[in-house]
């Protein structure tokens, strides 16, 4: 427990900080984390195969291509959300804050709406999806970095205050986006409307390709810096003492988080709590804090949850677009539990 984290009047872990103290005591405690990754990888592949073939064996060649696009989107989004959340929580040294809770994805939705509002639907639709995506991501990087600096710069604020500020920012961005949508001509609004609700319908193939490339690149980068990230998780003082360029790495991680949030929001719209769910589950299951294991475990869990959840909802309950609602429900509960437990650990 680094000395500077011991504050008066609250248990050190009370504010959700990750530290070496709260050693994971998940079901996997004691097994080698590598084994956990292997088991999860097998499970993920099984779930993917299940989703692609469930109830479609007699018309596989027709249905497979249709489903393949959706599965690809889910995998990319799952990995993007999981990796961005874990990285973000490493930088902010806590387990409650996620980019989505900080209002990042509402910000992206606002940027999308604003693009239509200021440029007009014809201009926006005239751009190739990749070009539009590039413009929106650039705006997102600028704004999210500014937002983050404004909240985290200056005096150190309590974690709960930061979370609350993030949530209220989310409300503000959503309200602004709704406001713009109402002001936009209704026909133009339709071009935005169908992209702001989390559903894994068939995404644009080029956009999906670009997003896949982006996520792959980011994952590769995170993998090369995995040991530095482990050090970063120890807190600023330790990281600096151990020779990690704390400021640069923090900024890099933030940019990468914003990039991944843009990717996932562009593909499926905002999902607030998914990252919180898989990241916290991953810390429990992985049995270690080393990013070499936590990152893949979180990504695999995300894929299993998304694809598996969608498969179960579609084929067992006959519901197709409510996965985001279920995630929101569970995530909210987990969040409240994390807050309630905060002082007891």
């Amino acid at each position: 427990m680094p000395a500077e984290t011991v504050r008066t009047g609250a248990a050190p872990a009370a504010d959700g900080r990750r530290s070496a103290d709260d050693a994971p005591a998940g079901p996997a405690a004691g097994t080698h984390p590598g084994r956990v990754v292997a088991v999860l990888a097998v499970a993920a592949v099984a779930v993917l195969i299940l989703f692609l073939t469930l109830g479609a064996l007699d018309a596989l060649d027709l249905i497979l291509p249709l489903r393949a696009g959706r599965v690809a989107a889910m995998v990319v989004v799952g990995v993007a959300i999981a990796v961005s959340t874990v990285l973000f929580q490493t930088v902010t040294e806590n387990r409650i804050l996620t980019p989505a809770i900080m209002g990042f994805d509402s910000l992206y939705a606002l940027i999308q709406t604003a693009a239509v509002f200021f440029l007009g639907a014809t201009t926006v639709n005239g751009l190739a999806p990749t070009g539009r995506f590039a413009v929106e991501v650039a705006a997102m990087l600028v704004f999210s970095t500014a937002l983050f600096r404004w909240i985290f710069g200056g005096p150190r604020r309590s974690l709960h205050l930061v979370v609350l500020v993030g949530i209220v920012f989310g409300v503000l961005f959503r309200s602004l986006a709704t406001f713009l949508q109402r002001v936009i001509d209704p026909n133009e609004y339709l071009t935005v409307a169908d992209r702001l609700f989390a559903s894994f319908s068939a995404p644009d193939p080029t956009l999906l390709l670009v997003c896949t490339a982006v996520v792959a690149l980011v994952c590769a980068w995170a993998w090369t810096r995995r040991r530095d990230l482990d050090v970063l998780a120890l807190g600023r003082a330790h990281a600096v003492a151990l020779g990690v360029d704390h400021r640069r790495l923090t900024m890099a991680v933030l940019l990468v988080s914003a990039l991944l949030v843009s990717v996932s929001t562009a593909l499926v719209g905002p999902i607030t709590f998914f990252g919180l769910l898989v990241a916290n589950l991953a810390y429990q299951v992985a049995g270690t804090h080393r990013h070499a294991y936590v990152l893949p475990v979180a990504a695999l869990l995300a894929v299993i949850t998304l694809v598996g959840g969608q498969a179960v909802l579609e084929h067992v309950f006959g519901l197709d677009t409510v996965l985001s609602v279920v995630i929101e429900f569970l995530g909210g509960l987990v969040f409240i539990v994390l807050l309630v437990r905060g002082g007891t650990r």
Binding site: R157, V163, V171, T178, V325, V340, G342
Partner: protein, 401 residues
């Protein structure tokens, strides 16, 4: 507020109020006379300091600050207060007048005064414009008052119907009753929504009691998360029954559907506001904590029950007739409290006026931006309200704990 500021008040938390019963030092020496309307006289200049913060809604009072904010402030004279109230009332009246003459149908002030209105214009005024302006006044002031009452009872500056799950619960109730008994008259639906709102608020308080770490911001955080969870249940139900669009219309505050025959329900809310004013001193005392309330000969539970009923009824009626007005009950009382402290009897009329004025202004903006169409007021209030809320949160740098 600062749970950590006064250790050793070991109190079994069993009352609904979160936070330890901090016998705020400023109160201990004061003379509290709740029954006869005498202001709660205190060593720090007549400001009732709640357990959750300084006099001016400082959510971030550091635990090292002395409980007395420093210099005693001279109390503003009664005359000046009266004059100020008059001026504010005049301002709201002017806004209400403007609000009467904004809309798709042209009605000019001159026509009304000269008495040469066409039948259609008169019809518009009587059945749509006047009810609308009245309902804005009622809903705006009532939600602001309810926010203030909630902040006192929960002893937290950042609580209001939309940050405590109350609004969302009322919406869920409305949805459930619409699915189960669509033929029920509006009053019946409202009653069900009220029960749901009450249950949701109770659930929120129950969760708060289990929380160990009580910083000022945790309370609204939990409330907003709970609202999200309840909202996702509503979304799910609505999705199963093809009512997603209806639900989002309901939950977005909108006065365009308010016409004669529907808005009269809002007079219930006006009644609640009057009751809140009459019981103001009781709420102030209840805000000081359970022991103190009991010591002063008030039943803490009864005051809590009264307050929560007012909150639930008001929230439910406004949700049914108008829709959600996010953060309204949070920003208005906080602004008033920044200006004049926390003595409820004195600040309540101001809260009511400012709430009404705020909603009137937002409504006029919503109606003029894309004239002749309109932006729902819930969206405008959401933008302004969340911006002001952010300002209140980030107002002073601190490590609020």
């Amino acid at each position: 507020m600062t749970a950590t500021a006064h250790p050793g008040t070991g109190r079994a938390v069993d009352g609904p109020a979160p936070g330890p019963a901090t016998p705020a030092p400023a109160v201990a020496g004061g003379l509290v006379r709740p029954a006869d309307g005498d202001p709660v006289r205190r060593s720090d200049g007549g400001r009732v300091r709640l357990a959750d913060g300084g006099p001016a809604g400082s959510a971030h009072g550091s635990s090292t600050r002395p409980a007395d904010g420093g210099q005693p402030q001279p109390r503003p004279s009664r005359l000046r207060l009266r004059l100020g109230l008059l001026a504010a009332t005049a301002g709201v009246a002017v806004l209400a007048g403007v609000s009467l003459f904004v809309g798709a149908t042209e009605v000019s002030v001159g026509d009304v005064l000269a008495g040469d209105l066409t039948a259609a214009q008169a019809q518009t005024l009587v059945s749509s414009r006047v009810p609308r302006t009245l309902s804005i006044l009622l809903a705006g002031s009532a939600i602001a008052i309810v926010g203030l009452v909630m902040q006192l009872l929960v002893r937290n500056k950042f609580v209001e119907p939309s940050t405590a799950g109350t609004t969302e619960s009322a919406g869920l109730g409305l949805l459930v009753v619409t699915l189960v008994a669509p033929a029920l008259p509006l009053v019946g639906k409202m009653a069900v929504a009220t029960v749901f709102a009450l249950a949701g608020t109770m659930l929120f308080l129950a969760i708060l009691r289990r929380i160990q770490l009580r910083s000022v911001v945790v309370v609204p955080l939990v409330g907003m998360m709970l609202a999200g969870v309840i909202g996702s249940v509503s979304t799910f139900l609505a999705y199963r029954n093809d009512m997603l669009h209806t639900l989002s219309t309901w939950m977005t505050g909108d006065f365009s559907g308010v016409i004669r025959g529907r808005y009269e329900l809002l007079w219930i809310v006006g009644g609640c506001a009057v009751v809140a004013y009459l019981a103001a001193n009781r709420f102030t005392v209840a805000g000081l904590g359970e022991e103190l309330t009991t010591n002063l000969g008030l039943s803490y539970r009864a005051v809590m029950a009264l307050g929560l009923s007012i909150v639930a009824v008001t929230s439910a009626v406004v949700v049914v007739v108008v829709g959600g007005l996010p953060f309204l009950g949070l920003v208005v009382p906080n602004i008033v409290s920044l200006a004049m402290g926390d003595y409820l009897r004195r600040s309540l009329p101001w809260v009511a006026l400012l709430g009404a004025g705020f909603v009137l202004a937002c409504d006029i903006v919503g109606r003029t931006v894309i004239h002749p169409a309109e932006v729902p007021i819930g969206v405008v209030v959401g933008v302004v309200g969340s911006a002001v809320f952010l300002y209140l949160l980030l107002r002073r740098p601190s490590g609020a704990r």
